[in-house]
Amino acid sequence: MYSLWTSIYDRGQDLSCSTATLEESDHHPDQKETLMTLAVEATALAKRYRGKGGEVDAVRGIDPAIPAGSVFGFLGPNGAGKSTTVRMLTTLMTITSGSARVAGVDVAADPDGVRRRIGVALREAGLDPRQTGRELLRLQCRLYGLSAAEAVARTEELLRLVELEDAADRNVKGYSGGMKRRLDLASALVHRPEVLFLDEPTTGLDPASRLTIWEEVRRINEQGTTVFLTTQYLEEADQLCDDVAIIDDGLIVRQGSPAALKDELGRRRGDGIAPTLDDVFLDATGRSRARVAGDVQEVRA
Protein backbone atom coordinates (compact mmCIF):
# COMPACT_ATOMS: atom_id res chain seq x y z
CA MET A 1 0.00 0.00 0.00
CA TYR A 2 1.42 3.34 -0.97
CA SER A 3 2.17 5.58 1.95
CA LEU A 4 2.63 9.29 1.47
CA TRP A 5 4.17 9.72 4.90
CA THR A 6 6.55 6.83 4.51
CA SER A 7 7.80 8.15 1.21
CA ILE A 8 8.33 11.59 2.67
CA TYR A 9 10.05 10.10 5.68
CA ASP A 10 12.26 7.98 3.48
CA ARG A 11 13.44 11.10 1.76
CA GLY A 12 14.79 12.10 5.15
CA GLN A 13 12.57 15.10 5.62
CA ASP A 14 11.50 16.50 8.95
CA LEU A 15 8.14 15.06 9.94
CA SER A 16 7.59 17.11 13.04
CA CYS A 17 5.31 19.62 11.37
CA SER A 18 2.58 18.55 9.01
CA THR A 19 2.33 21.98 7.38
CA ALA A 20 5.99 21.94 6.50
CA THR A 21 5.65 18.45 5.19
CA LEU A 22 2.87 19.41 2.86
CA GLU A 23 4.69 22.49 1.69
CA GLU A 24 7.73 20.43 0.91
CA SER A 25 5.65 17.84 -0.84
CA ASP A 26 4.37 20.63 -3.09
CA HIS A 27 7.72 20.45 -4.84
CA HIS A 28 7.61 16.73 -5.39
CA PRO A 29 7.06 15.90 -9.06
CA ASP A 30 4.47 13.21 -8.22
CA GLN A 31 2.55 15.49 -5.89
CA LYS A 32 -0.42 15.99 -8.20
CA GLU A 33 -0.90 12.28 -8.70
CA THR A 34 -0.54 11.64 -4.96
CA LEU A 35 -3.15 14.23 -4.02
CA MET A 36 -5.57 12.68 -6.49
CA THR A 37 -5.55 9.52 -4.41
CA LEU A 38 -5.99 11.13 -1.03
CA ALA A 39 -9.05 9.95 0.85
CA VAL A 40 -8.75 12.70 3.45
CA GLU A 41 -6.87 15.94 3.08
CA ALA A 42 -7.03 19.08 5.14
CA THR A 43 -5.32 22.42 5.09
CA ALA A 44 -4.79 24.40 8.29
CA LEU A 45 -7.81 22.72 9.82
CA ALA A 46 -8.73 24.43 13.07
CA LYS A 47 -11.47 24.43 15.67
CA ARG A 48 -12.02 27.08 18.28
CA TYR A 49 -14.64 26.63 21.02
CA ARG A 50 -16.15 29.30 23.11
CA GLY A 51 -16.10 27.76 26.57
CA LYS A 52 -16.98 29.10 29.99
CA GLY A 53 -13.39 30.06 30.70
CA GLY A 54 -12.93 31.81 27.34
CA GLU A 55 -11.96 30.55 23.91
CA VAL A 56 -10.26 27.20 23.51
CA ASP A 57 -8.27 26.16 20.46
CA ALA A 58 -9.03 22.46 20.32
CA VAL A 59 -7.39 21.94 16.91
CA ARG A 60 -4.81 24.49 15.76
CA GLY A 61 -4.24 24.17 12.06
CA ILE A 62 -3.49 20.60 11.08
CA ASP A 63 -2.93 19.21 7.60
CA PRO A 64 -3.54 15.47 7.56
CA ALA A 65 -3.30 13.84 4.14
CA ILE A 66 -4.40 10.23 4.04
CA PRO A 67 -3.91 8.04 0.97
CA ALA A 68 -6.94 6.17 -0.28
CA GLY A 69 -6.99 2.54 0.74
CA SER A 70 -4.82 2.94 3.82
CA VAL A 71 -5.46 2.53 7.52
CA PHE A 72 -4.54 5.78 9.22
CA GLY A 73 -4.09 6.00 12.97
CA PHE A 74 -4.71 9.27 14.75
CA LEU A 75 -3.14 9.13 18.17
CA GLY A 76 -2.94 11.50 21.05
CA PRO A 77 -3.51 11.94 24.75
CA ASN A 78 -6.95 12.74 26.15
CA GLY A 79 -8.10 16.17 25.07
CA ALA A 80 -5.47 16.47 22.35
CA GLY A 81 -8.01 17.13 19.60
CA LYS A 82 -8.53 13.66 18.10
CA SER A 83 -12.30 13.50 18.45
CA THR A 84 -12.72 17.14 17.49
CA THR A 85 -10.83 16.45 14.26
CA VAL A 86 -12.98 13.41 13.55
CA ARG A 87 -16.14 15.38 14.24
CA MET A 88 -15.06 18.11 11.82
CA LEU A 89 -14.16 15.62 9.09
CA THR A 90 -17.44 13.74 9.53
CA THR A 91 -19.52 16.95 9.29
CA LEU A 92 -20.70 16.69 12.90
CA MET A 93 -18.95 19.91 13.80
CA THR A 94 -18.29 23.09 11.87
CA ILE A 95 -14.77 24.02 10.89
CA THR A 96 -13.54 27.28 12.45
CA SER A 97 -10.87 27.86 9.80
CA GLY A 98 -8.98 25.96 7.15
CA SER A 99 -10.51 23.40 4.84
CA ALA A 100 -10.95 19.67 4.49
CA ARG A 101 -11.90 17.26 1.75
CA VAL A 102 -13.06 13.73 2.44
CA ALA A 103 -13.39 11.24 -0.42
CA GLY A 104 -12.78 14.18 -2.72
CA VAL A 105 -15.68 16.23 -1.38
CA ASP A 106 -15.33 19.54 0.43
CA VAL A 107 -16.60 19.07 3.98
CA ALA A 108 -17.88 22.62 4.42
CA ALA A 109 -19.33 23.10 0.93
CA ASP A 110 -21.05 19.73 0.51
CA PRO A 111 -21.54 18.03 3.89
CA ASP A 112 -24.30 15.83 2.52
CA GLY A 113 -21.98 14.59 -0.22
CA VAL A 114 -19.40 13.71 2.43
CA ARG A 115 -22.02 11.87 4.52
CA ARG A 116 -22.92 9.69 1.54
CA ARG A 117 -19.30 8.58 1.21
CA ILE A 118 -18.30 7.99 4.81
CA GLY A 119 -19.13 5.58 7.58
CA VAL A 120 -18.87 6.71 11.18
CA ALA A 121 -18.50 4.75 14.40
CA LEU A 122 -17.88 7.18 17.22
CA ARG A 123 -16.40 6.61 20.65
CA GLU A 124 -19.73 5.78 22.24
CA ALA A 125 -21.27 2.93 20.25
CA GLY A 126 -24.10 5.06 18.90
CA LEU A 127 -26.99 2.64 18.94
CA ASP A 128 -30.66 2.77 19.76
CA PRO A 129 -31.02 0.44 22.76
CA ARG A 130 -34.72 -0.19 22.13
CA GLN A 131 -34.31 -1.63 18.67
CA THR A 132 -33.11 -5.05 17.78
CA GLY A 133 -29.84 -5.39 15.90
CA ARG A 134 -31.72 -6.32 12.75
CA GLU A 135 -34.13 -3.36 13.02
CA LEU A 136 -31.29 -0.96 13.63
CA LEU A 137 -29.37 -2.08 10.56
CA ARG A 138 -32.48 -2.02 8.37
CA LEU A 139 -33.29 1.49 9.53
CA GLN A 140 -29.74 2.58 8.83
CA CYS A 141 -29.98 1.07 5.33
CA ARG A 142 -33.20 3.00 4.66
CA LEU A 143 -31.62 6.24 5.83
CA TYR A 144 -28.83 5.68 3.30
CA GLY A 145 -31.37 5.32 0.53
CA LEU A 146 -31.57 1.55 0.12
CA SER A 147 -34.95 0.16 -0.88
CA ALA A 148 -36.81 -2.11 1.56
CA ALA A 149 -35.66 -5.25 -0.27
CA GLU A 150 -32.08 -4.02 -0.51
CA ALA A 151 -32.14 -3.13 3.17
CA VAL A 152 -33.21 -6.66 4.10
CA ALA A 153 -30.45 -8.23 2.01
CA ARG A 154 -27.72 -5.85 3.16
CA THR A 155 -28.75 -6.27 6.80
CA GLU A 156 -28.40 -10.04 6.60
CA GLU A 157 -25.04 -9.66 4.87
CA LEU A 158 -23.76 -7.33 7.60
CA LEU A 159 -25.09 -9.47 10.42
CA ARG A 160 -23.11 -12.37 8.98
CA LEU A 161 -20.04 -10.17 8.58
CA VAL A 162 -20.01 -9.13 12.24
CA GLU A 163 -21.27 -12.51 13.43
CA LEU A 164 -24.39 -11.23 15.11
CA GLU A 165 -26.96 -13.39 13.32
CA ASP A 166 -27.92 -15.23 16.50
CA ALA A 167 -28.46 -12.01 18.45
CA ALA A 168 -30.09 -10.11 15.60
CA ASP A 169 -33.60 -10.17 17.06
CA ARG A 170 -32.61 -9.20 20.57
CA ASN A 171 -32.85 -5.63 21.78
CA VAL A 172 -29.50 -3.86 21.54
CA LYS A 173 -29.85 -2.96 25.22
CA GLY A 174 -28.95 -6.55 26.10
CA TYR A 175 -25.82 -6.73 23.94
CA SER A 176 -22.35 -6.94 25.46
CA GLY A 177 -19.87 -4.14 24.84
CA GLY A 178 -18.14 -6.12 22.10
CA MET A 179 -21.42 -6.94 20.36
CA LYS A 180 -22.44 -3.29 20.47
CA ARG A 181 -19.14 -2.26 18.89
CA ARG A 182 -19.54 -4.83 16.14
CA LEU A 183 -23.09 -3.73 15.46
CA ASP A 184 -21.97 -0.11 15.43
CA LEU A 185 -19.28 -1.04 12.93
CA ALA A 186 -21.83 -2.86 10.79
CA SER A 187 -24.16 0.13 10.88
CA ALA A 188 -21.33 2.31 9.60
CA LEU A 189 -20.90 0.00 6.61
CA VAL A 190 -24.46 -0.23 5.26
CA HIS A 191 -23.70 1.94 2.23
CA ARG A 192 -20.18 0.57 1.57
CA PRO A 193 -18.43 3.83 2.47
CA GLU A 194 -15.23 4.99 0.81
CA VAL A 195 -13.84 6.23 4.11
CA LEU A 196 -14.62 4.73 7.50
CA PHE A 197 -14.04 6.82 10.62
CA LEU A 198 -13.56 4.83 13.80
CA ASP A 199 -13.20 6.89 16.96
CA GLU A 200 -11.61 4.70 19.64
CA PRO A 201 -13.44 1.60 18.47
CA THR A 202 -11.93 -0.74 21.04
CA THR A 203 -12.01 1.41 24.16
CA GLY A 204 -13.36 -0.60 27.06
CA LEU A 205 -13.37 -3.92 25.22
CA ASP A 206 -11.88 -7.15 26.50
CA PRO A 207 -8.85 -8.51 24.57
CA ALA A 208 -10.90 -11.05 22.60
CA SER A 209 -13.42 -8.45 21.44
CA ARG A 210 -10.57 -6.11 20.59
CA LEU A 211 -8.97 -8.73 18.36
CA THR A 212 -12.31 -9.32 16.64
CA ILE A 213 -12.62 -5.61 15.88
CA TRP A 214 -9.05 -5.55 14.54
CA GLU A 215 -9.91 -8.43 12.26
CA GLU A 216 -12.99 -6.58 11.02
CA VAL A 217 -10.99 -3.43 10.38
CA ARG A 218 -8.44 -5.37 8.35
CA ARG A 219 -11.16 -7.09 6.38
CA ILE A 220 -12.92 -3.80 5.66
CA ASN A 221 -9.66 -2.21 4.58
CA GLU A 222 -8.82 -5.14 2.29
CA GLN A 223 -12.05 -4.42 0.47
CA GLY A 224 -10.71 -0.98 -0.41
CA THR A 225 -12.17 1.20 2.32
CA THR A 226 -9.86 3.81 3.78
CA VAL A 227 -9.94 3.64 7.57
CA PHE A 228 -9.35 6.68 9.76
CA LEU A 229 -8.85 5.33 13.25
CA THR A 230 -8.35 7.19 16.49
CA THR A 231 -7.08 5.18 19.38
CA GLN A 232 -5.29 5.46 22.67
CA TYR A 233 -3.92 1.95 22.32
CA LEU A 234 -0.59 2.26 20.61
CA GLU A 235 -0.30 -1.47 20.07
CA GLU A 236 -3.53 -1.24 18.10
CA ALA A 237 -2.08 1.48 15.90
CA ASP A 238 1.10 -0.51 15.45
CA GLN A 239 -0.85 -3.59 14.41
CA LEU A 240 -3.38 -1.97 12.13
CA CYS A 241 -2.10 1.27 10.69
CA ASP A 242 -0.07 1.99 7.60
CA ASP A 243 0.51 5.52 8.84
CA VAL A 244 -0.07 7.34 12.08
CA ALA A 245 -0.15 10.94 13.19
CA ILE A 246 0.28 11.99 16.80
CA ILE A 247 -1.67 15.05 17.85
CA ASP A 248 -0.97 16.93 21.04
CA ASP A 249 -2.56 20.14 22.20
CA GLY A 250 -4.27 20.59 18.85
CA LEU A 251 -1.17 20.20 16.69
CA ILE A 252 0.24 17.22 14.84
CA VAL A 253 3.61 16.63 16.44
CA ARG A 254 4.74 13.47 14.65
CA GLN A 255 3.59 11.53 11.63
CA GLY A 256 4.74 8.67 9.48
CA SER A 257 4.51 4.91 9.33
CA PRO A 258 4.90 3.18 12.72
CA ALA A 259 8.10 1.51 11.50
CA ALA A 260 9.56 4.74 10.21
CA LEU A 261 8.74 6.62 13.39
CA LYS A 262 10.32 3.93 15.54
CA ASP A 263 13.43 3.83 13.31
CA GLU A 264 13.76 7.57 13.48
CA LEU A 265 13.57 7.58 17.28
CA GLY A 266 16.00 4.65 17.53
CA ARG A 267 18.52 6.47 15.34
CA ARG A 268 18.10 9.67 17.31
CA ARG A 269 18.57 7.91 20.65
CA GLY A 270 21.43 5.79 19.38
CA ASP A 271 21.30 3.51 22.41
CA GLY A 272 20.74 0.33 20.44
CA ILE A 273 17.40 -0.37 22.13
CA ALA A 274 14.55 -0.75 19.65
CA PRO A 275 11.87 1.79 20.58
CA THR A 276 8.20 0.92 20.63
CA LEU A 277 5.37 3.09 19.36
CA ASP A 278 4.74 3.94 23.03
CA ASP A 279 8.23 5.44 23.15
CA VAL A 280 7.53 7.43 20.01
CA PHE A 281 4.29 8.67 21.53
CA LEU A 282 5.97 9.70 24.78
CA ASP A 283 8.78 11.38 22.91
CA ALA A 284 6.44 13.23 20.58
CA THR A 285 4.14 14.48 23.32
CA GLY A 286 6.89 15.49 25.71
CA ARG A 287 5.99 12.85 28.23
CA SER A 288 8.29 10.34 29.87
CA ARG A 289 8.07 7.15 31.90
CA ALA A 290 8.97 7.10 35.53
CA ARG A 291 8.97 3.90 37.47
CA VAL A 292 7.73 4.30 40.99
CA ALA A 293 7.42 1.23 43.24
CA GLY A 294 7.01 -1.05 40.29
CA ASP A 295 4.22 0.98 38.65
CA VAL A 296 4.76 2.74 35.40
CA GLN A 297 3.59 6.31 35.64
CA GLU A 298 3.34 8.76 32.83
CA VAL A 299 4.65 12.20 33.67
CA ARG A 300 4.99 15.40 31.71
CA ALA A 301 8.66 16.09 30.92
Binding site: R123, E124, G126, Y144
Partner: protein, 252 residues
Protein backbone atom coordinates in the same frame (compact mmCIF):
# COMPACT_ATOMS: atom_id res chain seq x y z
CA UNK B 1 -40.82 6.66 2.33
CA UNK B 2 -39.38 9.91 3.66
CA UNK B 3 -36.73 10.03 6.36
CA UNK B 4 -39.25 11.63 8.69
CA UNK B 5 -41.71 8.75 8.43
CA UNK B 6 -38.94 6.13 8.68
CA UNK B 7 -37.68 7.78 11.87
CA UNK B 8 -41.25 8.38 13.05
CA UNK B 9 -41.97 4.67 12.71
CA UNK B 10 -38.94 3.92 14.83
CA UNK B 11 -40.14 6.37 17.50
CA UNK B 12 -43.58 4.73 17.56
CA UNK B 13 -41.89 1.35 18.04
CA UNK B 14 -39.84 2.87 20.84
CA UNK B 15 -43.04 4.04 22.61
CA UNK B 16 -44.62 0.62 22.26
CA UNK B 17 -41.54 -0.95 23.83
CA UNK B 18 -41.59 1.39 26.80
CA UNK B 19 -45.18 1.18 28.05
CA UNK B 20 -43.97 2.24 31.52
CA UNK B 21 -43.23 5.68 30.08
CA UNK B 22 -46.91 5.99 29.12
CA UNK B 23 -48.26 5.34 32.62
CA UNK B 24 -47.69 8.88 33.98
CA UNK B 25 -48.97 10.26 30.68
CA UNK B 26 -52.32 8.62 31.38
CA UNK B 27 -52.49 8.47 35.16
CA UNK B 28 -51.69 12.08 36.06
CA UNK B 29 -54.05 13.67 33.50
CA UNK B 30 -56.87 11.41 34.69
CA UNK B 31 -56.14 12.20 38.32
CA UNK B 32 -56.96 15.94 38.18
CA UNK B 33 -60.40 15.78 36.54
CA UNK B 34 -61.46 12.80 38.63
CA UNK B 35 -60.57 14.68 41.82
CA UNK B 36 -62.04 17.95 40.55
CA UNK B 37 -65.28 16.29 39.48
CA UNK B 38 -65.55 14.47 42.81
CA UNK B 39 -65.07 17.72 44.70
CA UNK B 40 -67.50 20.01 42.91
CA UNK B 41 -69.92 17.95 40.83
CA UNK B 42 -72.62 18.41 43.46
CA UNK B 43 -72.16 22.18 43.28
CA UNK B 44 -72.14 22.28 39.48
CA UNK B 45 -75.14 20.12 38.71
CA UNK B 46 -76.07 19.68 35.09
CA UNK B 47 -79.67 20.78 35.66
CA UNK B 48 -78.77 23.99 37.48
CA UNK B 49 -75.49 25.04 35.86
CA UNK B 50 -75.91 26.96 32.63
CA UNK B 51 -72.35 26.59 31.32
CA UNK B 52 -72.66 22.78 31.36
CA UNK B 53 -75.39 23.01 28.70
CA UNK B 54 -77.21 20.04 30.24
CA UNK B 55 -74.12 17.84 30.53
CA UNK B 56 -72.30 16.53 33.55
CA UNK B 57 -69.34 18.29 35.14
CA UNK B 58 -67.13 15.34 34.09
CA UNK B 59 -67.67 16.41 30.47
CA UNK B 60 -66.53 19.94 31.35
CA UNK B 61 -63.41 18.44 32.90
CA UNK B 62 -62.52 16.24 29.91
CA UNK B 63 -60.19 18.83 28.29
CA UNK B 64 -58.41 19.06 31.64
CA UNK B 65 -57.46 15.43 31.08
CA UNK B 66 -56.72 15.61 27.39
CA UNK B 67 -54.44 18.64 27.32
CA UNK B 68 -52.01 17.53 30.06
CA UNK B 69 -51.88 14.07 28.48
CA UNK B 70 -50.74 15.75 25.29
CA UNK B 71 -48.24 17.92 27.14
CA UNK B 72 -45.77 15.48 28.59
CA UNK B 73 -43.32 15.54 25.69
CA UNK B 74 -41.81 12.24 26.79
CA UNK B 75 -40.16 11.78 23.41
CA UNK B 76 -37.80 14.64 24.32
CA UNK B 77 -36.42 12.45 27.10
CA UNK B 78 -35.73 9.72 24.58
CA UNK B 79 -33.98 12.34 22.46
CA UNK B 80 -31.72 13.32 25.37
CA UNK B 81 -30.94 9.65 25.89
CA UNK B 82 -29.91 9.39 22.25
CA UNK B 83 -27.77 12.50 22.50
CA UNK B 84 -26.03 11.12 25.57
CA UNK B 85 -25.66 7.64 24.05
CA UNK B 86 -24.29 8.82 20.71
CA UNK B 87 -27.09 7.57 18.47
CA UNK B 88 -28.12 11.15 17.73
CA UNK B 89 -24.68 11.77 16.21
CA UNK B 90 -25.01 8.58 14.23
CA UNK B 91 -28.20 9.95 12.72
CA UNK B 92 -26.60 13.35 12.15
CA UNK B 93 -23.80 11.66 10.23
CA UNK B 94 -26.31 10.06 7.86
CA UNK B 95 -27.17 11.77 4.55
CA UNK B 96 -30.63 12.80 5.67
CA UNK B 97 -32.21 16.12 6.46
CA UNK B 98 -31.24 16.79 10.06
CA UNK B 99 -34.63 18.31 10.67
CA UNK B 100 -36.15 14.89 9.97
CA UNK B 101 -34.46 13.51 13.10
CA UNK B 102 -36.61 15.81 15.23
CA UNK B 103 -39.64 15.82 12.96
CA UNK B 104 -39.73 12.01 12.97
CA UNK B 105 -40.23 12.14 16.71
CA UNK B 106 -42.89 14.84 16.36
CA UNK B 107 -44.70 12.73 13.79
CA UNK B 108 -44.79 9.85 16.26
CA UNK B 109 -45.96 12.17 19.04
CA UNK B 110 -48.90 13.17 16.85
CA UNK B 111 -49.81 9.52 16.22
CA UNK B 112 -49.37 8.65 19.89
CA UNK B 113 -51.55 11.55 20.94
CA UNK B 114 -54.33 10.53 18.54
CA UNK B 115 -54.42 7.08 20.13
CA UNK B 116 -54.12 8.36 23.71
CA UNK B 117 -56.83 10.98 23.23
CA UNK B 118 -59.20 8.41 21.75
CA UNK B 119 -58.39 6.08 24.64
CA UNK B 120 -59.07 8.75 27.26
CA UNK B 121 -62.37 9.69 25.65
CA UNK B 122 -63.27 5.98 25.70
CA UNK B 123 -62.37 5.82 29.40
CA UNK B 124 -64.68 8.80 30.04
CA UNK B 125 -67.67 7.23 28.24
CA UNK B 126 -68.79 5.04 31.19
CA UNK B 127 -68.94 8.20 33.31
CA UNK B 128 -71.59 9.64 31.03
CA UNK B 129 -69.25 11.85 29.06
CA UNK B 130 -70.22 12.28 25.40
CA UNK B 131 -68.76 14.47 22.68
CA UNK B 132 -71.57 16.89 21.85
CA UNK B 133 -70.11 17.57 18.43
CA UNK B 134 -70.66 13.93 17.47
CA UNK B 135 -68.24 12.01 15.27
CA UNK B 136 -67.11 15.18 13.53
CA UNK B 137 -66.59 16.90 16.85
CA UNK B 138 -64.62 13.90 18.07
CA UNK B 139 -62.42 13.96 14.96
CA UNK B 140 -61.79 17.70 15.32
CA UNK B 141 -61.00 17.20 19.01
CA UNK B 142 -58.47 14.48 18.14
CA UNK B 143 -56.79 16.71 15.57
CA UNK B 144 -56.66 19.71 17.91
CA UNK B 145 -55.16 17.74 20.79
CA UNK B 146 -52.71 15.85 18.55
CA UNK B 147 -51.48 19.09 16.98
CA UNK B 148 -50.96 20.55 20.45
CA UNK B 149 -49.05 17.41 21.44
CA UNK B 150 -46.76 17.94 18.45
CA UNK B 151 -46.23 21.61 19.37
CA UNK B 152 -45.53 20.96 23.04
CA UNK B 153 -43.30 18.01 22.29
CA UNK B 154 -41.42 20.19 19.80
CA UNK B 155 -40.71 22.75 22.51
CA UNK B 156 -39.55 19.97 24.83
CA UNK B 157 -37.21 18.71 22.12
CA UNK B 158 -35.84 22.22 21.82
CA UNK B 159 -35.04 22.14 25.53
CA UNK B 160 -33.41 18.73 24.99
CA UNK B 161 -31.30 19.99 22.08
CA UNK B 162 -30.20 23.09 23.92
CA UNK B 163 -29.61 21.60 27.37
CA UNK B 164 -28.62 18.01 26.39
CA UNK B 165 -29.73 17.21 29.92
CA UNK B 166 -32.45 14.80 31.01
CA UNK B 167 -33.00 16.75 34.23
CA UNK B 168 -33.49 20.06 32.42
CA UNK B 169 -35.79 18.46 29.86
CA UNK B 170 -37.89 16.80 32.55
CA UNK B 171 -38.13 20.10 34.40
CA UNK B 172 -39.16 21.79 31.15
CA UNK B 173 -42.24 19.61 30.88
CA UNK B 174 -43.43 20.97 34.22
CA UNK B 175 -43.98 24.36 32.55
CA UNK B 176 -47.35 23.18 31.37
CA UNK B 177 -48.84 22.80 34.84
CA UNK B 178 -48.78 26.49 35.82
CA UNK B 179 -50.29 27.23 32.42
CA UNK B 180 -53.00 24.65 33.08
CA UNK B 181 -53.90 26.21 36.41
CA UNK B 182 -54.28 29.65 34.81
CA UNK B 183 -56.98 28.38 32.46
CA UNK B 184 -60.73 28.35 33.04
CA UNK B 185 -60.55 24.64 33.83
CA UNK B 186 -62.92 24.85 36.84
CA UNK B 187 -65.46 27.31 35.52
CA UNK B 188 -65.75 29.39 32.32
CA UNK B 189 -63.57 32.47 32.02
CA UNK B 190 -66.37 34.97 32.73
CA UNK B 191 -66.92 33.35 36.12
CA UNK B 192 -63.32 33.63 37.25
CA UNK B 193 -62.17 36.43 39.56
CA UNK B 194 -61.24 39.58 37.57
CA UNK B 195 -57.52 39.06 38.12
CA UNK B 196 -57.66 35.41 37.13
CA UNK B 197 -59.79 36.26 34.12
CA UNK B 198 -57.14 38.70 32.88
CA UNK B 199 -54.35 36.22 33.54
CA UNK B 200 -56.14 33.42 31.74
CA UNK B 201 -56.85 35.71 28.78
CA UNK B 202 -53.09 36.03 28.24
CA UNK B 203 -52.58 32.30 28.52
CA UNK B 204 -52.64 30.57 25.11
CA UNK B 205 -53.68 27.29 26.73
CA UNK B 206 -56.96 28.97 27.71
CA UNK B 207 -58.00 29.11 24.04
CA UNK B 208 -57.12 25.47 23.53
CA UNK B 209 -59.10 24.54 26.61
CA UNK B 210 -62.10 26.56 25.42
CA UNK B 211 -61.93 25.09 21.90
CA UNK B 212 -61.74 21.55 23.25
CA UNK B 213 -64.49 22.30 25.77
CA UNK B 214 -66.79 23.67 23.09
CA UNK B 215 -66.46 20.43 21.11
CA UNK B 216 -67.35 18.38 24.17
CA UNK B 217 -70.24 20.52 25.45
CA UNK B 218 -71.79 22.28 22.48
CA UNK B 219 -73.47 20.35 19.63
CA UNK B 220 -73.26 23.41 17.37
CA UNK B 221 -69.71 24.20 16.33
CA UNK B 222 -68.54 27.50 17.80
CA UNK B 223 -66.29 28.53 14.95
CA UNK B 224 -64.91 31.60 16.67
CA UNK B 225 -63.86 29.59 19.71
CA UNK B 226 -62.45 26.79 17.55
CA UNK B 227 -60.68 29.31 15.35
CA UNK B 228 -58.87 30.81 18.34
CA UNK B 229 -57.83 27.36 19.53
CA UNK B 230 -56.43 26.37 16.15
CA UNK B 231 -54.81 29.80 15.75
CA UNK B 232 -52.91 29.26 19.01
CA UNK B 233 -51.72 25.89 17.70
CA UNK B 234 -50.76 27.36 14.32
CA UNK B 235 -48.74 30.23 15.78
CA UNK B 236 -47.05 28.02 18.35
CA UNK B 237 -46.31 25.45 15.64
CA UNK B 238 -44.72 28.10 13.39
CA UNK B 239 -42.53 29.37 16.23
CA UNK B 240 -41.59 25.85 17.30
CA UNK B 241 -40.68 24.75 13.76
CA UNK B 242 -38.56 27.87 13.15
CA UNK B 243 -36.68 27.43 16.42
CA UNK B 244 -36.26 23.69 15.90
CA UNK B 245 -34.82 24.07 12.41
CA UNK B 246 -32.37 26.62 13.76
CA UNK B 247 -31.43 24.52 16.78
CA UNK B 248 -30.82 21.31 14.86
CA UNK B 249 -28.83 23.05 12.14
CA UNK B 250 -26.67 24.86 14.69
CA UNK B 251 -26.19 21.76 16.82
CA UNK B 252 -22.60 20.60 17.22
Amino acid sequence: MSDTTVLGGRAVRESLRTPDALIPTIFIPLFFPVVNTGRVSEIFRSDTTAFLQGRGYAAFQLPTSLLPAASFGSSALFLVEEIEGGYFDKLRAAPISRVSIVFGRLWSEGVKSLVLTALMVAVALPFGVRIAGGVTGFAVLLVLIALWAVVFSGFMQLVALKSRSAAATQAGSMVFFPLLFITPNFVPRDQLSPLMEIASSFNPVTYLMEAAGSLVLDPSFQWAVLGKGFAVVAVAMAVMVALTVRAINDYE
